[in-house]
Amino acid sequence: MTGDRPLALVVLEMFLLVLLGPLFTGIIQKMKARLQCRQGAGILQPYRDLTKLFQKGAVQADTTSGFFRSIPVLVLAATVSAGALVPVVRMGPPAFPLGDAVMLLGLFALARFLTAVGALDAGGAFGGMGASREMTVAPLVEPVLMMVVFSTALAAGTTELGALAAHRGTSWFLAWGAADFLGFAAMLVLLPAETGRIPVDNPDTHLELTMLHEGMLLEHSGPGLGCMVLASHTRQIVTLGLVAALFFPAGPAGGPGATGVLLGAGSFAGKILVLAIYLALVESSYAKLRLFRVPQYLGVGFVCALVALALRIL
């Protein structure tokens, strides 16, 4: 099987995503702080938080089962392996059998499921509430994400993300089909929900009844919490990478050799940065929705994705 991305490159991309994940969270937080006229913490703050968490000891509730301890590691593993499926520095199919976009979404769903199970396992009230809310929102988000992926995959004839991105090639807005606009609109509606940001979730609060994701992390501590936090950073950058692969695969074509890889990584960082700016702007300009309004908000994304799919098929 010949492909453009050998094993070493895929592994490199995976580590790059994990390493850069906290940086982009830091950048978003810094931009948010600036937009709200605050100084804000430095963009390296998430790294400091992570190092601190990994140096701490772990405390757990007496009611937890033996499975609880392994959950953070499993969640991190699922998220990181999802990261391996996203093309970063170079487009094109991988040189060996790797998963596709469906697998990526499946791994995300697995991570989400494990997080919810962990929250329920500890038996805390907040954890249970957060888990039940997350499980309410997840069935609204995942099908839409799936439909957006399918609406682009239909044109390319493959669900493998690298091949999908390569099929799109260097096309920019001008070469976008009608369905791409609607798919991208659906993606923009969906992004804050998928990355756990403001219209749907609030990443800054730990003790508010509106929270979804943070509520599920309350029972974790020390390295376990560190794993969960790192997983959520990684999940965010992987989601942004998925959007970049689906809609903006263009950029300095990563040729062979180190320069190609560097150029590819640079353009990837640029694309992620644009999406990060979008997220920061949305977070600063909207208020958190009431939980019962969330289905209506996500309904817009659902309808856009469905119409995109309809445009592609009919």
Binding site: G299, V300, F302, C304, L311
Partner: protein, 218 residues
């Protein structure tokens, strides 16, 4: 511009028109619906300009200009002022839940694509997806009119519906005679003025709204 580029551009504008329509249907606040309908009119003006360059029809430039001035600027501004005068913010009040309306909107879009696919050779003569998009816009505008209780939101639905008819006419005929288009636009302005005056009058004299008028007996 080659014919193929025109097709793609009109298709893309059609997709964006559908997106603004979804925003109108999903809007929970009347301001958002007004902004969305203004954006929709702007897109139609752009579509008119694109068709004007491709066909060389000078009338289309005039029509695009009038659309931009009247429908994208003046009408939204009038609606905006009425909303301010009436001092309402969340004046949408759907008859059925907004999510149900969204589902109906999807059904309409899919049905209009399906129906216009059955037109076969007739459709080949029409630029891109303009026909199904136009039908979908028109019907969804009617849907908005039918599922909202207040007059202002129904007006937004009417303008969206009118936009759909306009878009279809423009793309199907490659530019209708100027006199007809101007007549249509004058009608829209007149309708908007009469309706805003009616809304304000009814509101100020009897403090009732359209939804209260269904029990009138002669």
């Amino acid at each position: 511009m080659t014919l193929e580029t025109v097709h793609t551009v009109i298709d893309d504008i059609g997709a964006l028109l559908l997106f603004t329509m979804i925003l109108i249907v999903a809007a929970g606040q009347i301001y958002r619906a007004i902004y969305a309908v203004a954006a929709q009119s702007l897109l139609i003006a752009i579509a008119g300009a694109v068709l004007a360059t491709s066909t060389g029809n000078r009338d289309l430039w005039v029509i695009a200009g009038i659309t931009l001035a009247v429908k994208a600027i003046i009408l939204p501004w009038v609606l905006h002022r009425v909303v301010q005068r009436m001092d309402v913010r969340r004046e949408v009040e759907p008859v059925i839940p907004i999510s149900a309306t969204l589902v109906l909107a999807v059904v309409i879009v899919v049905a209009s694509f399906q129906l216009s696919a059955s037109l076969g050779s007739v459709r080949q003569a029409i630029t891109g997806n303009a026909l199904p998009v136009g039908i979908a816009l028109t019907l969804t505008g009617v849907l908005v009119m039918a599922t909202r209780k207040t007059a202002l939101t129904q007006m937004v639905g009417l303008f969206a519906s009118e936009n759909g008819i306009f878009f279809t006419a423009m793309a199907v005929t490659q530019g209708m005679p100027l006199i007809i288009e101007i007549g249509v636009i004058l009608d829209v302005i007149l309708a908007a003025l009469v309706m805003t005056i009616m809304v304000l009058r009814v509101r100020s004299t009897v403090d009732a709204d359209i939804a209260d008028l269904d029990r009138l007996r002669g």
